[in-house]
């Protein structure tokens, strides 16, 4: 069993404080100030931009380098998910189904074929 040390626990507490400070950053002060209109418009696109920025490198790169083969389980998993989403987009549980279908394609390729 690994040993516990007080220094590590202290660092963990500070990392948790960091979570609170970064997530609350611009509403820590009580004073409220209005955002410029262009920023308010642009920020509506921040969620989708963040999602695309997180997902894309995780699918088309490995350790910061472009994947060099099409035999990669991730590509097929994502393709299956996107296709399923557009087939079933009016269904209530589509997000969950998208995940399950993607994993159903991804896991056999990854574990079975080692892609």
């Amino acid at each position: 069993m690994n040993e516990t040390d007080a220094w590590t626990l202290g660092v963990i507490v500070l990392i948790a404080v960091n979570t609170m400070v970064t997530r609350s950053f611009f509403f820590i002060p009580n004073r409220s100030w209005p955002l410029p209109a262009w920023l308010q418009r642009g920020l509506r696109y921040a969620p989708i931009a963040a999602l695309a920025a997180v997902i894309t490198p995780e699918v088309v790169m490995t350790q910061g380098v472009w994947i060099s083969t099409w035999q990669d389980a991730r590509l097929f998993g994502v393709a299956a998910s996107v296709a399923w989403y557009y087939l079933r987009r009016h269904n209530r549980y589509v997000t969950l189904e998208t995940l399950l279908v993607g994993m159903a394609v991804y896991l056999p390729l990854r574990i079975g074929l080692g892609w």
Binding site: M1, T8, I12, M20, Y45, P47, A53, V60, T95
Partner: protein
């Protein structure tokens, strides 16, 4: 204290709380798979069970947990660890500009707790359900109070489901760390869960543009340390659509 408790009770019984919980439930399996693998990674990096438990319960931010692990294991200096997790969390600083309108009416202690709990999924679901915060809508009196309440109740509903599934899966990961092979790549479920949400947000041409631009920028800037490529990608996409939008009303 009583005042805060009564307020919390009203929020939990609010219909939007349930709505938020339902919306978050469709993402929960992906979050759980990712939480599981984060739990496994913590033990495999050499943390003790106590340290890993403290990190899972307190930090509640998967990407900064994963970023901190190799640094802790290597005995990196404190400032390097904190600077790294701050940079990995920079996207939340961007989100907090946006969330300010949603949360500013809350008293500060509550505001900071709600902010701490608003991880990526809750932020995305909140802004999808309520594209506008209550305050800029120019409502008055009871209508304003009700609109503010809707948003906070909704986000807490998503938090209740996200927090629980993340923590339960993380604990399971700690327990199973030595029997679950990382080569299965179960953490990829976290990415696939986000694919569905992304598709549901791509409902206008400009949104598709911002997704493509951000995806390309994140790949192009991958060499930046601390996952700063994500922050750069968000900034590029937000700035671009802010320039384009006046011509293309949504």
């Amino acid at each position: 204290m009583n005042l805060m408790f009564g307020r919390l009770q009203r929020l939990v019984q609010h219909p939007e709380f349930r709505r938020g919980a339902v919306d978050a439930t469709s993402l929960a399996p992906g979050l759980a798979a990712w939480g599981l693998m984060t739990g496994v990674a913590m033990i495999k990096s050499g943390m003790s069970m106590t340290e890993a438990l403290a990190m899972a319960l307190l930090v509640f931010a998967g990407s900064s947990q994963l970023a901190a692990l190799p640094l802790l294991a290597a005995g990196a200096p404190l400032w390097v660890i904190l600077a790294t997790v701050f940079c990995v969390n920079l996207r939340f600083v961007v989100f907090s500009v946006h969330l300010r309108d949603y949360y500013m009416h809350l008293p500060r202690p509550l505001r900071l707790v709600v902010g701490y709990l608003t991880a990526d999924q809750s932020y995305v679901l909140l802004t999808r359900r309520f594209p506008d915060a209550a305050d800029p809508l120019k409502l008055q009196g009871a209508a304003l109070a009700a609109a503010r309440q809707d948003r906070v109740a909704f986000v807490l509903g998503t938090v209740a489901v996200n927090w629980t599934s993340w923590q339960v899966a993380g604990l399971l990961g700690l327990a199973m760390a030595h029997s679950l092979p990382t080569s299965w790549g179960l953490g990829f479920a976290g990415i696939l869960a986000l694919v569905g949400v992304t598709c549901s947000l791509v409902n206008t041409r400009l949104r598709a543009v911002s997704a493509l631009v951000a995806g390309a920028a994140a790949v192009a800037a991958i060499a930046l340390p601390f996952k700063l490529n994500i922050v750069v990608a968000i900034a590029v996409a937000v700035a671009l659509v802010a320039l384009l939008e006046p011509a293309h009303h949504e």
